[in-house]
Symmetry: C2
Subunit: 424 residues, 2 copies
């Protein structure tokens, strides 16, 4: 089954809005075993929309159109579909009533052009609207092929991402699966990793990749995600979700046994949520002292709802005197292992926290204390079986100022995770 | 002149990478008066790449291909162009030397497949590589049209955004302008604003927009950019850059006179760079105390190279006791104007800074101190003509946890800016 995507809107071509819809659709089609082999952006021009649509529906079994369903004269998706189907547009009274009701329930007068959204190509069915005013459309269309006429389908959904995603799950996916006649479903598991490059991971998983290539199910994909780490995703298909989970399980176990502590979480876990939850389980509080990252570690930790159960606060000791005066760092060079350790001890004491994490380094563009941009010293101090545990690492990070700072954040949090779990 | 875009890479269709390149190209082509009317994503499949390219170059004067220039067998852009041009690929010794040198200068052995990147279609010219290993290509191609054969052009650039942007400016744009035979150039001015919604700005600029619609040059565009504020961009075209600047100037002045202090900067200014530069000019240092934003304000300020001239540091007083113990906030509710002011005084004192900025609020999902998510109190304390100036604001912000925190950052920095410049 092949389902291509046609995104409609001049604003997409002008770069005023980035088309994330077709990427999302491509990802979710693939997860359900549907190929999306061509995705097109076109402006609000009836000739060009119709031209692309006509061609695309001869190449693919289905085409999803995103956008162009609004009330204005620029919204031409309905007209293009009717032209390709060779049918008229008619007013759907039920849809019209929903739209009228939406306005009256908000005590607002309805501009007449809103009823354009109730115009439906003859022969199409509706994906009812739940949030916006425009319904989605399922439009069967007969296409001449060398093997004779075949029935294909054009879907139309609004360009607003949450409406599109809702209608995809509720209307498009079930219809696609009914048409494909296939009964399987999918399950996926993303292993979140940190500590190795994509090519390094690839090499270590070489044998697994070769085996998976032979088996074909599940499939494996890598996704480098900056300071979110590197994702390794397994996707399995089977007749039921339960069966797909059973297909996944031994491969997940195998990959985990190879990657070991480099797997820090699964699916929607993040390094910061994992660290917070580890400390929460231990009943430990955390304080963070930052220089090179200037608050980014604290900012990420506090992005997690409920961070306050663990995170007491942070000291952004950007100026050296703040390190000396507030954190009792010995006067001298501040981009050193000793300074990082002193900062970790200092913030732990100052904020009365069980664990202290500290970062000092050089983000660039200039050198500092004779250290090159990309230099990071990170240190942790936390309770252990025999008194306080303290550890520090010296890491060389690549990239510009922003990249170096972002990679510093996940590197330092990972140090804390591995020190606390004894996997350093 | 019409220049369409063909982005190549299976990872784009699978949603593993979002295609921001074609959006960027569409925006910058439009800025230079070139239409981009269709933008296509296609996977690493030679038949489909060639099929799209063959069709697109009959529809547009030029096609930019992004991606597929790497060293592996999946990188098929060179082969597709050669097929459409009807020519062979040959090894370009100069390019090969650059690639060999790149590896030897890093003391690394060069895998032989890297020389694939030195293969060039006969008749193409090179856009030399400066950072990556793959050069860009300028490939003239003769296309049969109903009016007879015409010369068109296919450009190929790497998918890595910074390489692509550099080669667009350096290689594609000059070539496009030479081919179009048009002599004009463009100048643009982006006014960075904060303090009003897009519809509010639109309304205040109603008359200017109507006048610009009549004049046609310059053009005006709004771009809502989250915690980067709202951008108002004027773009003028003229025969020389100097003339374009002259076209711009009175309109910029007109818009500035209407928007007043809401314009915080231009072009690549950011709220944090503007605030740092204001304080730098005054010779003032800054300390920041954050609760709801948990380090994001400090993180943004320290993202600016040279921030250390002004920014001494920050206290992330996430737990209430940290506010009480370290910042001398009076015990009691901490989401109040009084608490924000006490935090600003406290951090100024503690870090020995000239100015103090503080934020306390509720990001959600839960209420705190009876305050709803979206509540922000921000406060500043800084020197004034008659002793210390202190100001606080209470703002209601929209959005989820992330959005609320991001809007808090720019709102608080704007408070500091306006208080220091006397425009509050």
């Amino acid at each position: 089954m092949r389902c291509d995507v046609l995104a409609v809107g001049t604003e997409l071509l002008l770069g005023q809005i980035i088309d994330t819809n077709s990427s999302w659709l491509g990802e979710h089609l693939a997860l359900h075993g549907v190929d999306s082999l061509s995705q097109v952006k076109v402006g609000d021009n009836i000739g060009r929309i119709t031209g692309h649509l006509r061609r695309m529906i001869t190449e693919a079994d289905a085409v999803i159109m995103c956008g162009g369903l609004g009330p204005t004269h620029d919204d031409l998706t309905r007209e293009a579909i009717a032209a390709v189907m060779g049918v008229d547009l008619v007013l759907d009274e039920d849809v019209a009533d929903v739209i009228r009701h939406l306005f009256s329930s908000r005590n607002r007068a309805m501009p007449e052009n809103n009823l354009r959204q109730a115009m439906v190509p003859v022969g199409a069915t509706i994906i009812p609207q739940t949030r916006g005013t425009a319904p989605g459309l399922i439009c069967p269309v007969t296409v001449d092929t060398p093997e004779g006429p075949v029935e294909r389908v054009i879907y139309a959904v609004p360009g607003v991402p949450h409406e599109l995603r809702d209608m995809f799950d509720r209307g498009i996916l079930p219809d696609l699966q009914r048409r494909s006649g296939e009964q399987w479903t999918i399950a996926s598991r993303t292993l979140r990793t940190w500590g190795e490059s994509e090519s390094g991971l690839n090499e270590r998983l070489d044998d697994v990749i070769a085996e998976l290539d032979l088996v074909g199910n599940p499939t494996l994909a890598f996704l480098a995600s900056g300071w979110e780490g590197l994702k390794v995703r397994l996707t399995a298909r089977a007749e039921t979700r339960e069966a797909a989970e059973i297909v996944l399980a031994p491969w997940e176990a195998k990959i985990r046994s190879i990657l070991g502590h480099q797997v820090f979480g699964i699916d929607n876990d993040t390094m910061e949520s994992v660290v917070l939850s580890l400390l929460d389980d231990l009943g430990w509080s955390l304080g963070v002292a930052e220089s090179v990252t200037g608050g980014l570690v604290a900012g990420r930790l506090t992005g997690v709802p409920g961070a306050s159960r663990v995170f007491r606060g942070g000291i952004v000791s950007y100026a050296s005197e703040v390190k000396f005066d507030l954190l009792d760092v010995p006067e001298g060079p501040v981009v050193t292992e000793e300074a990082a350790l002193a900062m970790a001890h200092g913030v732990r004491r100052l904020l009365d926290a069980d664990a202290g994490l500290a970062l000092t380094g050089v983000a660039g563009p200039a050198e500092q204390d004779g250290m090159r941009p990309g230099t990071l010293f990170a240190a942790v101090v936390h309770p252990g079986a025999e008194g306080l545990v303290e550890r520090a690492v010296h890491i060389r990070l690549p990239g510009d100022r922003d990249t170096m700072r972002q990679l510093s954040v996940i590197s330092a949090l990972d140090l804390l995770r591995r020190s606390v779990t004894g996997s350093l």
